[in-house]
Amino acid sequence: MTEAKQPWPTRIRLTDDGRLLTIEFDDGSSVALTSVRLRVATPSVEAKRLTPAERQAMIGDKPVKITAIEPIGNYAIRPTFDDGHSTGIYNWTYLAELGRAEK
């Protein structure tokens, strides 16, 4: 099966008053992403057409926090940010990619 090749998350933890999201994978690795990083990297279609620079300009370095996380099936999460944005669905592959880019 295709998904067997990718690490699968076992636990997702929101800490630091909604500012840090830590994803632990079943291969023992983990990635920590800030709420600001996730907000700027939203995969929402509304933001997809923006370039990274445009996103940065639009969203800026405002200290957004994550207020809620909704599981989507068993393959993704949909966080709600305190600036009202909540249409980005982050699947495990994308979260792992963001984690790799961080390193």
Binding site: M1, T2, E3, A4, W8, P9, T10, R11, I12, R13, L14, T15, I23, E24, E46, A47, R49, L50, A53, E54, A57, M58, I59, G60, K62, V64, I69, E70, P71, I72, G73, N74, Y75, A76, I77, F81, D83, G84, H85, S86, T87, N91, W92
Partner: protein
């Protein structure tokens, strides 16, 4: 190209939806694009505040137009309200008390259903391959294996569970929860139990979703090892949304062995793979035909196609169900063959499929959604 910083600078003079925070810092900007000196900006506002946001929209347009080099500025208001929120209102006979102007209710959450260990979709790429009959027999076979099983007939376009299980009573409502009917050890809920069998139902997409969400969430399923969801046939928007909104452990695809059906089955597999839902396996229905008179075997739809397809796609093959008059008759009579003739070879086929399904579901490789911990 107009400098982005200049755009942000211009919009800083416009107050966001809350009337105080400058627009670029309010988080309300949904998108910004520009082409040939035209700027397109979308501002996300709550649907209920659309009228109040109009002055902000005009102010933003004016501010952008004043920028040097801007030929035109088009600012639109978009609403980010959950489609689910409005769909819930459309649910028949289901009204949430809500004050006008009150904060909109949160979106229906797609968390797992308490007490239900596995939710399994039984799907097919096209109609007429015997998906519902297979789902019913599989559910009963799972129950015979000692599992606590529920069957949700989500095929709202052609609900067949009432007939397959011989159910006629309307389910009772207790504490705002529907009490499922029980037949052959399986808890059954179907839209067909709530409406007359002959009355045609015309469904719009959102209505299907709200009806299915209700049947998932607002039914007293109790403790279940598996909830079998009989999906509407096809790979359209409704099926995709359903696959995404129910926390599925996996999907079983039913197909006949002929090429045309397999083509659609392949789409079914692809649809579930696209949303990372594991394929538990493919079942070949109407696999071969044993003539009741001469006992000769005919491969009407050219047998073995589904097995071959499963091997090709690297998904498990669960079993072959023959095309047999006994299966058809018992299904139409409301006594599925696994229950009415448990010792028949056909029942054995379904039992083997049930065992394979249990093995797949309880295998440690089944991917559960991760725990989400806050704090």
């Amino acid at each position: 190209m107009i400098d982005e910083n200049a755009i942000v600078e211009a919009l800083n003079g416009v107050n966001g939806p809350d009337g105080a925070t400058p627009l670029p810092r309010s988080g309300a900007i949904g998108g910004l694009t520009q082409r040939d000196g035209k700027i397109y900006l979308s501002i996300v506002v709550d649907a209920s505040q659309a009228a109040r946001a109009e002055p902000m929209r005009i102010a933003a347009e004016d501010a952008l137009r004043r920028l040097p080099g801007v030929a035109a500025a088009i600012v639109t208001l978009t609403s980010e309200r959950a489609p689910g929120a409005s769909a819930r209102h459309a649910a028949p006979g289901h009204a949430h008390p809500q004050q006008p102007g009150a904060k909109t209710a949160p979106r229906p959450r797609m968390e797992s259903i308490a007490g239900v260990r596995h939710i399994v979709a039984v799907a097919s790429g096209k109609g007429g391959v015997g998906k519902s009959t297979t789902a019913a027999n599989l559910a009963i076979a799972l129950a015979q294996e000692g599992w606590r099983v529920g069957l949700l007939d989500a095929d709202v376009f052609g609900p067949s569970a009432p007939r397959l299980f011989g159910l006629k009573d309307k389910p009772e409502v207790k504490d705002q929860f529907l009490i499922p009917l029980i037949a052959f050890g399986v808890k059954v809920i179907s839209i067909g139990l709530l409406i007359a069998e002959e009355s045609p139902v015309v469904w719009r997409g959102p209505m299907v979703m709200s009806a299915v969400t209700q049947m998932l969430r607002e039914v007293a399923w109790g403790e279940l090892d598996a909830l079998i969801v009989d999906m509407p046939p096809g790979t359209g928007d409704v099926q995709l949304t359903m696959a995404q909104s129910a926390p599925l452990s996996g999907a079983i695809i039913v197909s006949t062995p002929q090429d045309l059906a397999l083509l659609d089955a392949r789409r079914g597999v692809a649809m579930f793979e696209k949303v990372s839902i594991p394929i538990i396996g493919i079942i070949e229905n109407m696999s071969y035909f044993i003539c009741p008179h001469c006992h000769g075997r005919s491969d009407i739809f050219s047998h073995g196609g589904a097995r071959h397809e499963a091997e090709k796609r690297g998904v498990p093959f669960l079993g072959e169900v023959p095309l047999d008059i006994a299966i058809r008759e018992t299904s139409d009579a409301g006594r599925p063959i696994v229950a009415s003739a448990p010792d028949s070879p056909h029942a054995k086929v379904f039992r083997d499929i049930a065992r394979a399904t249990i093995a797949r579901l309880d295998a440690p490789t089944t991917r559960a959604a991760p725990k989400i911990v806050i704090g």
